[in-house]
Amino acid sequence: MTPFGTRISSLAVSVLLLSGCGTKVTRVSHDSTIDLSGEWNDTDSRLVAEEMVKDAVSANWYKAYETQKKIPRVVIGEIRNKSHEHINTETFINDIQRYLVNSGKVEFVANKAERKELRDEKSDQAQNSSVESQQMAGEESGAELMMLGEINSIVDSEGGKSVVFYQINLELVQIESHKKVWLGDKKIKKFVEKSASKL
């Protein structure tokens, strides 16, 4: 290669190297699995919700409703994060609600905070809306079951290696009798390895 050619090649390599320093964004499918840090992510939330909903609606408690041709009304109670990570339980709850509602086997009623907002709206309508369009108070559908749960984790680590074990427990409780009609759990185990050195 001529000296000029060598210079051109060096320049090309430099440009290529420098171009790698900017931010690069690639669109990916919303249900693709991408693990970066090994922490709880949207894939965990989605898979756990999907599997637990399948388990919940195929359990014995649901058969009683099926034989009576009734659709149970469920309200989401507290799903607590007792793990070692900041997990947005709202996303997880939304995933569960979506799968249950889309399955057509369960109806959801608004939770405590949402009900308060809705009642405020009705009270406002009572004063300001026309009689024909007004939504009436005292016509709410009461939930028969409440879903409660928690996310737990155990971490075992040494140096840059760690094993993270998540256990997600959900339960459905009859609001009237306080009977637990379904207990479900899902476990996830991850092995995370961090490199101790880099260039």
Partner: protein, 462 residues
């Protein structure tokens, strides 16, 4: 090369610019300075996030504080991987070009202050996440340092807060285990065990079938006091962030390096006395041994070296004690954590390794400077003098002690525990100097639910 040179150590400039504003309680002004003087945080992204987070915490902006402190946690985790090029550069220049990874106690306190932020926002589950992350960090820390008694292995202040958080969440077993660990941490570190903690731990352990734990910790019964909190009961926990943390300053070291691998060095101690010590310095390269066939060797010759090491410098502040009054009842805040002890412990534990690394670097650089001088020698005496002085000055300028430390932390973490029935209360919270004079005070209205541990934060750095 000019990038590495600076007239003053950035940490000292950072202290002048930020810490003084914080000490006058101008936390948001100090935070604005941090943002404005981002260049003072070269290789210290961690400190940048920690400083901003802590300043927002002191200002009572717990949501903003949590954003920066969580960013700091993320940075610290990402720093697990050491950059080979950076480490090699640090061996030639100085330790300040390595990214700051935080001292072990600072990482625990990072999670502790994040837990405080969440407690301040009544987000107890999130506070527990931070407690659990600090527990994982401390478990790894103990694994790393083994049984070395000089190393930071556990943290009594953190364990006490962990016990209260678990207790407030109704997780009795975790609360009792944390109480046990809290007492053990004070016993192992040799720091004074707060009397209130000893009394509380004894009562809680005995009442919950853990007599053997109480016995192992050598805890005994004490006089019953109706004003003391009961395990599982509701209470207001006033956390006082009182006084100013010490900072790091440079101490000059000088000595004679003997080429056979011995360094005799001197420094002045805190009383101004010159201390002399010796250590094994880096050995001879193989090329020197190969000269055993009659050629000239430089083994046995000596030269002078000088460097500086970080040393603790106390920062005076008037704020010393915490006092909380509810009506006629007055509660004194007990000291649970002291950053002076923690920083001194860190310096003591790492003094040997810092000294060895610094000496190795200085010796290598001195040898390089000598070679440079001899290769640059001319027939002009004046020019030789200038070149030699210039080379020496350059080598000296490169060496700077690593003075980076989270000096915005309070000197003392004090806690006053006020047992209450569920309801609304007005508290008078104040800090005092050593003579009992009030430095600053605030009135706070606090609402407490049944079984709740309501945390209230009070900062007095003045």
């Amino acid at each position: 090369m000019s990038l590495f040179l600076g007239c003053a150590n950035n940490s000292l400039v950072r202290f002048e610019a930020i810490a003084k504003r914080a000490a006058s309680q101008d936390f948001l002004d100090a935070a604005a300075q941090v943002r404005k003087q981002r260049d003072l945080y070269n290789h210290t992204d961690l400190l940048y996030a920690m400083d901003l987070g802590l300043l927002y915490h002191y200002a009572g902006l717990y949501d903003s504080s949590a954003i920066f402190l969580r960013e700091a946690v993320k940075i610290q985790e990402d720093l697990y991987a050491h950059s080979i090029t950076n480490e090699a550069a640090a061996l030639l220049v100085n330790d300040n070009i390595r990214p700051y990874r935080g001292k072990a106690y600072e990482i625990t306190w990072l999670h502790l202050f994040l837990a405080f932020d969440y407690l301040g926002m009544n987000r107890y589950d999130d506070a527990r996440v931070e407690i659990r992350q600090a527990e994982i960090f401390l478990r790894e820390q103990r694994r790393k340092v083994g049984t070395d008694p000089k190393e930071y292995r556990d943290d009594g202040a953190f364990r006490t807060v962990a016990a209260l958080v678990y207790e407030g969440l109704g997780e009795k077993d975790d609360a009792l285990i944390s109480l046990y660990q809290a007492v053990k941490a004070y016993r192992e570190s040799g720091q004074p065990l707060p009397e209130g903690l000893a009394r509380y731990a004894y009562a809680a352990l005995m009442a919950n079938g853990r007599e053997s734990d109480a016995k192992e910790l050598n805890l005994g019964p004490s006089v019953q006091d109706s004003r003391r909190p009961a395990f599982g009961g509701s209470e207001i926990v006033v956390v006082g962030e009182v006084g100013r943390s010490p900072m790091l300053d440079e101490t000059a070291f000088w000595g004679t390096w003997v080429r056979d691998g011995m360094l005799i060095y001197h420094y002045k101690d805190a009383n101004g006395n010159t201390v002399t010590d010796a250590m094994a310095a880096p050995g001879l390269p193989d090329s020197e041994y190969e000269k055993g066939n009659g050629r000239k060797t430089r083994s046995g010759t000596t030269f002078h070296v000088k460097w500086s090491m970080p040393t603790l410098r106390d920062v005076p502040s008037q704020s010393d004690a915490l006092r909380v009054a509810r009506g006629n009842d007055v509660y004194a805040g007990e000291a649970y954590g002291d950053t002076h002890d923690l920083l001194q412990g860190d310096l003591n534990a790492h003094r040997g390794i810092t000294l060895l690394r610094t000496v190795t670097r200085v010796v290598l650089r001195t040898i390089a400077a000598e070679k440079t001088k001899s290769s640059l020698n001319t027939n002009e005496p004046l020019l030789n003098l200038l070149l030699n002085v210039g080379t020496d000055a350059l080598a000296d300028q490169l060496e700077q002690a690593d003075l980076r430390v989270w000096f915005l932390l309070p000197r003392n973490l004090r806690m006053a525990r006020v047992p209450v029935q569920p309801g609304r209360y007005t508290l008078e919270i104040g800090s005092e100097d050593r003579n009992g004079r009030t430095i600053r005070s605030e009135t706070r209205d606090v609402e407490v639910k049944a079984g709740e541990k309501k945390f209230v934060f009070f900062t007095s750095l003045k």
